[in-house]
């Protein structure tokens, strides 16, 4: 916020054409029933999803309603904390709020037992990361585990053989 109190910067011709006006926004989010159960689950090291009663697809995190069928979700199911990396990006760009040292990898992970892929960090040398790579979650220790996806620090390779293309090509 210090920018606002400084004198405005003048252009070469002595004119002031811009001032900095920082904006800060605090807000409170209500997670809703389905996501609240999921967030309680991650603090206990469990990944809870929901299965749609119409299309049988399992969503993790659960969404309350099925985005395809437009109906309320059905039974709660627990999925594994292992999965397949479907696709990924190696980030070389710094940005505000970044926590990882560059370059780092994030990707879409189809958890075993889930029908959607979620975004998360991959801890592995970027040049070794592959589509189809098998991964497992590395959890934050229980005593400091937050009620958020940050309860999982990142995903690490399991060392298993890569998943076949057909097993994850629907998650692109």
């Amino acid at each position: 916020m210090s920018d606002a109190s400084k004198p405005a910067k003048k252009d070469a011709d002595g004119e002031v054409r811009r001032i900095k006006a920082p904006v800060k926004l605090d807000y409170t989010v209500t997670a809703g029933l389905a996501l609240s159960r999921f967030l309680k689950g991650v603090t206990a090291g469990k990944l809870l999803g929901q299965r749609c009663g119409v299309c049988s697809k399992v969503y993790v995190p659960p969404r309350g309603g099925c985005p395809t069928c437009g109906v309320g979700m059905g039974e709660q199911v627990e999925v594994k904390d292992t999965g397949t990396l479907t696709t990924f990006c190696i980030v070389n760009v710094p940005f505000e709020g970044q926590t990882m040292k560059l370059p780092y990898v994030y990707g879409l992970i189809a958890l075993d037992g889930a029908d959607n892929a979620l975004h998360h960090l991959i801890l592995a040398p970027p040049e070794e990361v592959r589509m189809g790579m098998r991964l497992r979650a590395e959890w934050v220790p229980p005593e400091s585990r937050p009620a958020s996806m940050e309860a999982i620090r990142w995903f690490v390779p399991t060392g298993e053989p890569d998943a076949p293309w057909d097993s994850y090509k629907e998650h692109l």
């Binding site: 997670a31 070389n92 940005f95």
Partner: protein
């Protein structure tokens, strides 16, 4: 398109640049609007309603800029509304304006879209901390890079396809006096040597951050008779949306895009897009999206879009020129980028595209997309009314 005929009688855009310090947001919008009005032979007083569009407010930090723009755009005492569909907004805004004509509500509508990226930080606005999520993505490039990787894997496209598009669109931009980027020295080697920002996307395979605006004057057929220039005619408009996440979602070739294209082709009587459409201005903020959209839009078979890029079909002089203006890769005032595609399509069928004119263009597609490849807007314009 159903309802009354809708003519495009005025087209205006600003000189796009990384920083337009010489104008405010209002001044930027007026620059485009006054050019469109002059082209249409009208003044603000002749306009019945104003429809404006821009990307999220956080991109400039100006909350509801439409309130502050009402006087600058001559909307006092008239209906004014703002449209908002993420990156596709420029297209959706033109479509909403066109519907005000085709529905018979108004005779002359001014539509304006803009972005002044230099006044804030879109990278920040797109990378802010979401509740319950770790910070991951690093802006739009970070979001779209995994999708590009999926396309490369699925299609088996040569890895230099993205480089080819990056060079081609920058060469096109040299023929467009309004384009932001002018890189006469652009070459495959130069793109290849540029930093790999979001692997597999290189710096020169991405769009710039631009300040710019675009404006159109749309009128009924009767009002178009008094226009000084030859109008372009809107022959079809379509918008489609889909959720960002659902099981089995094809992020490379979203269903919403395929269905939007099918709908707009049906309205315009297009059964063979590659044959019937002379030129297309499509939303390509990262070079690999050219081959991806060629497939999504039905200009190429699945997994074969890259062939048209690589054989030169999509360059000016090719069988299907794509983005002769230089496209989003050369100018990206985000909120205006979609309308620029729509406007450039109309310029082509009016024969007013100057050095980047496609000879004899009669039917053109304007295309925009936004969000997580989940909002689509398209129109087809023609030199012929029917």
């Amino acid at each position: 398109m159903s309802g009354r005929a809708c003519a495009i009688t005025g087209i205006g855009q600003t000189k796009h640049a990384s920083k337009r310090d010489d104008v405010s947001i209002a001044g930027l919008c007026r620059e485009a609007a006054l050019r469109a009005l002059e082209d249409a032979g009208l003044s603000f007083a002749d306009i019945d309603a104003v429809v404006i569009g821009k990307a999220p407010d956080m991109f400039e930090g100006v909350m509801m800029p439409e309130l502050y723009l009402a006087d600058a755009l001559g909307a006092v005492g008239k209906p004014m509304m703002r449209v908002h569909t993420a990156g596709s907004v420029g297209g959706s805004t033109a479509i909403v304006a066109a519907h005000l004509i085709s529905s018979g509500v108004h005779e002359r509508v001014l539509t304006v879209s803009f972005e002044k990226q230099s006044e804030s930080d879109a990278m920040w606005a797109l990378s802010h901390k979401y509740p319950f999520q770790p910070p991951l993505m690093a802006g739009a490039g970070g979001f779209f890079a995994p999708i590009v990787r999926s396309y490369i894997k699925r299609s088996g496209a040569p890895l230099d396809t993205g480089i080819a598009v990056a060079v081609k669109d920058r060469l096109h931009a040299l023929k467009n006096p309004y384009a932001h980027l002018t890189l006469p020295e652009i070459s495959n080697d130069m793109v290849k040597a540029s930093p790999m920002l979001w692997d597999p996307i290189r710096y020169l395979e991405t769009c710039p951050s631009s300040d710019g605006a675009c404006a159109l004057v749309l009128t009924s057929a009767q009002a178009a008779r008094r226009a000084p220039g030859k109008p372009a005619w809107v022959r079809g408009t379509s918008m489609r949306t889909e959720p960002a996440v659902f099981a089995g979602r094809d992020q490379v070739s979203p269903r919403a895009g395929r269905e939007c294209a099918a709908d707009v082709y049906r309205q315009a009587g297009v059964s063979n897009p590659s044959k019937q459409i002379d030129v297309a201005e499509i939303y390509v903020p990262f070079s690999w999206f050219e081959p991806m959209w060629l497939e999504n839009l039905g200009f190429a078979e699945v997994n074969q879009g890259w062939q048209k890029t690589m054989d030169g079909s999509t360059a000016l002089g090719g069988a299907l020129p794509i983005n002769p203006s230089g496209g989003v890769l050369s100018s990206n005032p985000i909120g205006a980028s979609g309308m620029l595609r729509f406007a450039e399509a109309a310029m082509q069928v009016r024969g007013q595209a100057g050095a980047h004119q496609v000879d004899g263009a009669r039917m053109a597609l304007g295309h925009a997309y936004g969000g997580a490849s989940q909002f689509f807007s398209m129109w087809i314009v023609s030199s012929e009314r029917e």
